[in-house]
Symmetry: C2
Subunit: 373 residues, 2 copies
């Protein structure tokens, strides 16, 4: 079976949707935040901890796993689920974002992208076919088409050409995709141009993908542009397919984009913030290294249900982060991921009650007005 989506309910006042994604490794409700397990591990965490914070699905990076340990190792292990001991759903990206951001220098042609392996300097070529072939072997539940991931800003002329290339690449990838247990998503590009997004979606829908990702976000664009890009995408996307907004994980952005009709999000922020000693709270981000937490024996959030908040004080976590102890990053990662997943749980409740705008107003007020206090 390929992963497939059931729309449960549309919120009355916005584009927000409640749904379920069915996969061979379990179902999960949407909207959902998806933690990132770049190298077949969500940094510092065990699969059991991911279950405990209610991760419905995790993301793994095709680019990283292709280079190390190699897709054949993962395939011979019995696929990514077995390799990493995660029996929940897995989504893999296409590697596109990484070759466009991590790998330099790069040379983009119709064939694909030539670049240097950032680990050993080898010359490599990633093509739409190769990306799908790797993902087929990784055996994730959901694979992404290989697209051109352009930065911000850009000229309309470039975006026009790029959308066409992304469409040709989507078609080439779909042609070679041959894992009957893996859904394949098309990726919507077109930057902030409504007509280009509309055109891209029309062409992708003709190819009949199992779901759709919204690309061209989280590449340095201003927030209002990001929200427009999402609006110009969800407006034309079919309602019966799931929508995944790539790379977005700021709490406010999650709310704004759920309101615009997005179902799934991913972002490295919760684990990256954790490694730098930052914790997400409903009153904004706090820096646990701040001197005022030295003898603060209360949890990060007294109303948070995560393992960290139930068992550890800010004082202890501050000590661990100051002392470079990885258990500190682990405790903060648990908290931050749980914070974003709980946010999506609360959004689902708000959708059920048709109160997402009220929820947003209250959340934004707390988040900005009391920042960190």
């Amino acid at each position: 079976m390929k992963a497939n989506y059931t729309l449960i309910k549309e919120e009355k006042n916005t584009q927000a949707r409640l749904g379920i994604l069915h996969t061979n490794y379990g179902d999960f409700e949407t909207p959902m935040f998806m933690p990132v397990g770049t190298q077949a591990t969500v940094k510092t965490l065990s699969p059991e901890e991911l279950k405990e914070v209610k991760s419905g699905v995790i993301l793994a990076n095709t680019y990283h796993l292709w280079l190390r340990p190699g897709e054949d190792v993962v395939s011979n292990a019995g696929g990514l689920h077995k390799f990493m001991n995660w029996d929940g759903p897995i989504l893999t990206d296409s590697g596109g974002f990484q070759v466009f951001s991590l790998a330099r220098p790069k040379d983009i042609s119709e064939e694909g992208v030539k670049f240097k392996n950032h680990l050993n300097g080898d010359n490599l070529l990633l093509t739409p076919e190769k990306s799908i072939e790797i993902q087929n072997k990784l055996d994730s539940d959901i694979a992404m088409s290989f697209d051109e991931c352009i930065g911000f800003p850009h000229t309309r002329e470039y975006v026009e050409q790029s959308v066409e290339r992304t469409l040709r690449w989507a078609k080439r990838g779909k042609k070679v995709h041959n894992n009957p247990n893996q859904a394949l998503f098309g990726i919507v590009q077109g930057a902030e141009y409504e007509d280009l997004r509309h055109h891209c979606i029309d062409e992708l829908v003709k190819m009949d993908f199992d779901g759709y990702s919204i690309g061209g976000t989280a590449v340095g664009e201003p927030k209002d542009i990001q929200y427009l890009q999402v609006e110009y995408s969800t407006k034309y996307l079919p309602k019966d397919k799931v929508r995944y907004l790539m790379g977005v994980g700021d709490p406010i952005d999650i709310i704004e984009n759920v309101i615009r009709g997005v179902d799934i999000f991913d972002c490295v922020a919760p684990t990256r913030l954790a490694r730098h000693g930052h914790a997400l709270t409903k009153y904004g981000k706090i820096n646990i290294k701040n001197a005022k937490y030295k003898e603060d024996f209360t949890p990060i959030s007294s109303d948070c249900d995560c393992y960290t908040c139930k068992n550890y004080s800010k004082s202890y976590i501050k000590h661990l982060i100051n002392a470079d102890e990885t258990f500190g990053a682990r405790l903060l990662s648990i908290h931050n991921i749980r914070f974003l997943i709980k946010l999506t749980e609360d959004l689902r409740e708000a959708i059920k009650e048709d109160k997402i705008l009220e929820y947003k107003e209250e959340f934004v007020k707390n988040y900005y007005e009391n920042n960190g206090n």
Copy 2:
């Protein structure tokens, strides 16, 4: 109540002993290996994981906690157990080993040791009284006397003077010790001189400590000297008090010293080896980074009962270590600590059956003859 020891059984053919240490945070059987939580955390692990590998007791370092976060922070948190969320027994060292090894330059006088804080360069003075005062505040279950930790080699003349200083320091520390819930151990020095060890023990026993530690080991001495030092100590130590050999954690050394009458061991080796990709097995240490494990989908040890061996392959752990993912160090730490604790469990069984020499013979044969295979 102060931690106290019950001798259960002496092995028929050796000095090995089976016993129980009773503490306010639970009892544990000896011989026991004790994981090291230097900075109030056993590197990469949670308290739940320490329970799962059957850690009966953990060690925390007075020197490190004194410098960061400071003993007052820990005390205001409600003591070390509460601060770090560990409700099992805790032993603290005196800080002596660290000021003699980590801190430079140092200036040893009758008063104590002057040295520079390795974190910020401040001039500090650690005295026998200060060490006990810090440990009283940390509120560990078992505290250590502050001793002079000499290196190897040394002259007999120096050792003679040093033993006398260690005895004067032990007396000064005992005088100020005032935590009714904390046992205080004396530390046996005297290097490889039987008469000096004997003399040191006689004087310590007059002071009536709650238990005794064997010092002057794990400072670079050859193995045969280490075993002699232990023999020359356990020979004169009272049978009704527990004996702790400081800093020793090599599997063969644990067996050899249990045979010589030691009850408790500690060592950073299992977690340090883990960070470098090494795993302990009954067939010797293996380096998980070895190319031959690339597609080895079997566990580190098929007969090991730890979380790591029940759920993960060598191939996956090798990938994590190669990719600098801390989950790899965590999985190996779990395995290595469990390996040493299981070793002490097996030694306890062998003592019950009066078969410790047979156990040793079999273990040594596997460990050396098949090294890593």
